[in-house]
């Protein structure tokens, strides 16, 4: 049997776990691991400029590919810088393994230089964590970490390794475990047959059904099954922010995103429905609005791999614990077996209603905002131009704020894993490093980060990483010189008292900044230039392009749920309510 040091085992175990790319940043406690990394060629390391970005990049890689993302950081500040990235992945159930160096065992608890209790600090935001105390345990622990991260409801796993455990002078036999079995961790995959049958019968008996699907469908690669089920039944589909792309957005049966900034037709259909079929969604507060007023007439069928998500906020009448793919497959086969068909007349009437809502107040049937023109560029029109230029087929990452909502509303995602954003934690600074992760996974694809001048400055140092590894992402900066969503809330709730949401004259020249990093910068100030500049941006196939687009400062995101109301209570624009 081969004998390896702890540091070598870490890297070998990564290779055996199928890892090809690690995002990270070296430091004292991780140096033995970094030395082992230097002496091999199987695992490529990408050096970021801040550990938060390492985790976001691994996260973007994972969201776009479905594989587990990997980050490597040192102890203390390296570990704490990774925390925001880990929390981001945790809230959106993204499978990651984050390996952190730790001070030598003998120094743990001594307040040593760069010591942080990483297992303790990360505890509430990880699926699980390990502190490895012996070189002999590294391989099995790493194997467990990948297994836990990627199965059940996915999530980030931290592996904290003290420096003495990776000591190059201490070699132990290396063995990669052929399989992992844990008595305390056995996630449920298949749904309970009886419950699945009940779910199908209820779904088929619906007169005003709606399919409400979330990030779980994307994570479990169940879009195909979801689409087939929806189309076989001719039921309307709405997606959560995290679920966009699970059902083709350009299809007639798609009625838009639901929730706080969801479409009128999706929110109203939810409110008036008699059966809600929730798949891989968790009735988040950004969806439900006031829980007491939530969908009063609906029978709720809820499929989720995580039992804690079921009946947490809204009680499910028919809960099914299982993976989206296996449960949907089973439902499809039960539908085949049954003679029951949906009530065609009722469904037809339901569609007539929905189509009326769409036509009257939908954002896709007519433009619901003032037109762009001259030096007024509406942010919505930027997203439409981006959609047109990329033919709707780009990977779009985003940061957090108005730009994120405009992208979610106006870029119509027809495929899963194309829309990559921090939905749960809402992390500004996510977009650019996530785009790097996507571009690494798909070197030939068009990858755009839709951002704002606020968010982009939270991880802008990564423009340098893009240079080093030739990651030609496109940055679409909706620059309104303000923290737009904060300002929107201040307009709506604080009589336009813009407390700390304006940059005044302090913003950098983003074009010059991009050029300083060796990239292309393009500034757009007039609407008539937008389309052409967008074309120019994507014509630079192998370059990072920073498009700084000055958008209308006064624009708000609509529709918007009225706080304390039902799902269907919406502001449709500054003057009109639903």
């Amino acid at each position: 049997m081969e004998h390896l040091s702890g540091g070598e085992i870490v890297i070998r175990a990564l290779k055996d776990a199928g890892v090809k790319h690690v995002w990270g940043y070296p430091g004292g406690a991780a140096l033995h691991i970094y030395d082992a990394l230097y002496r091999q060629e199987d695992v490529e390391h990408l050096l970021v400029r801040h550990e938060q970005a390492a985790v976001h990049a691994a996260d973007g890689f994972s969201r776009s590919t479905g594989e587990v993302g990997t980050a490597l950081v040192t102890s203390g500040p390296g570990a704490t810088n990774a925390i925001t990235g880990i929390a981001t992945a945790y809230m959106d159930s993204i499978p990651l393994v984050v390996i952190s160096g730790q001070v030598p065992k003998i120094k743990i608890g001594q307040d040593a230089f760069q010591e942080t209790d990483m297992v303790g600090v990360s505890r509430p935001i990880v699926k699980h964590s390990f502190l490895v105390t012996r070189a002999e345990d590294i391989a099995e622990t790493i194997a467990k970490a990948y297994y836990i991260a990627s199965t059940g409801r996915p999530g980030p796993v931290v592996v904290d390794i003290p420096k003495d455990v990776t000591d190059p002078s201490y070699k132990v036999p290396y063995e990669w475990p052929s399989s992992i079995k844990m008595r305390s961790y056995q996630p449920t995959n298949k749904g309970h047959r009886g419950q699945v049958k009940r779910a199908v019968k209820t779904l088929l008996s619906a007169k005003k059904p709606i399919i409400y699907s979330g990030g779980g469908v994307i994570l479990d690669d169940a879009s195909e099954q979801l689409t087939e089920l929806a189309q076989r039944l001719n039921y309307p589909v709405t997606n959560t922010l995290m679920g966009l792309g699970a059902y083709p957005a350009t299809d007639r049966q798609f009625i838009g995103m639901l929730g706080m900034h969801g479409t009128f037709e999706a929110n109203t259909a939810m409110h008036e429905s008699d059966v809600i079929f929730a798949v891989g969604a968790r009735f988040d507060d950004r969806v439900t609005n006031d829980l007491d007023k939530f969908c009063p007439n609906a029978t709720i069928i809820h499929i989720d791999v995580d039992p804690t998500s079921i009946s947490k906020n809204i009680t499910a009448h028919i809960p099914v614990v299982g993976t989206c793919t296996s449960v949907l497959n089973e439902m499809l086969s039960i539908i085949d077996e049954l003679d029951t068909k949906p009530d065609a007349q009722a469904i037809k009437d339901w569609w007539t209603k929905i189509d009326q809502w769409r036509a009257d107040k939908g954002i896709y049937t007519a433009s619901r905002y003032e037109p762009s023109g001259g030096d007024i560029i509406k942010p919505q029109d930027v997203i439409k131009a981006l959609y047109k230029e990329t033919k709707g087929d780009a990977f779009i990452t985003s940061d957090v704020g108005q730009h994120q909502m405009f992208a979610a509303q106006y870029y119509l995602f027809d495929k899963p894993r194309r829309w990559i954003n921090s939905g749960g934690l809402g992390t500004m600074g996510f977009g650019l490093p996530a785009a790097m992760g996507v571009q690494l996974a798909y070197p030939e694809a068009q990858v755009a980060c839709v951002t704002g001048e606020g968010s982009i400055q939270m991880c802008i140092q990564e423009l340098s990483t893009c240079s080093q590894y030739n990651l030609p992402v496109k940055i679409i900066n909706l620059n309104n010189s303000a923290l737009g969503m904060v300002r929107q809330w201040q307009d709506m709730n604080y009589s336009s008292r813009y407390s700390q949401s304006l940059y005044e004259d302090s913003l950098p020249d983003f074009v010059a900044l991009a050029e300083a990093y060796g990239h292309v910068g393009i500034k757009v100030t007039r609407y008539e230039d937008l389309e052409e500049k967008m074309r120019e941006c994507f014509a630079h196939k192998d370059r990072v392009v920073f498009m700084d687009i000055c958008v209308d400062k006064s624009e708000h995101v609509y529709p918007m749920q009225i706080p304390g109301g039902s799902m269907g209570d919406l502001y449709l624009n500054k003057a009109e309510k639903s």
Binding site: H128, M182, P307, T308
Partner: protein, 164 residues
Amino acid sequence: MKRIISILLENESGALSRVVGLFAQRGYNIDTLTVAPTDDDTLSRLTLTTQGDDQMAEQIVKQLHKLIDTIKVVDLTVGSHIERELMLVKIKASEPEVRAELKSSVEIFRGHVVDVTASTYTVQLTGDSDKLDAFIDAVREIGIMEVVRSGVSGISRGDKFLRV
């Protein structure tokens, strides 16, 4: 309503902090908590009591079960069960009549005097939490110096058992 929740946990470092952390993180209260290894030293048995309605108890059980180190979780209050708590109480007892009164109270509650000095009695008592509360009320006026309670341990009645 009071809930007694029993957990079989991997006897790993940090496992207890995950359970306690979960309660803090999700805004649940822990009223009592006891934990010790079982006959199988790779396993810890943890019993905790908390307050909550059925829905909350169900969510707590599910959340506990989701922890990777958790092997089994049961809400003992759902079925018939035995609940025991151990208490040690140090009480001022210098006057002869006080000592006599205390001894008779201890007998009534089926406790034991386990340590005696010229001025104190130390009493050991086991039972469910209500009984221990009642004893404290009974001797409060005499002068309690110190109370130590183990927290509730519980086990279900009959054939049901919690084991790997």
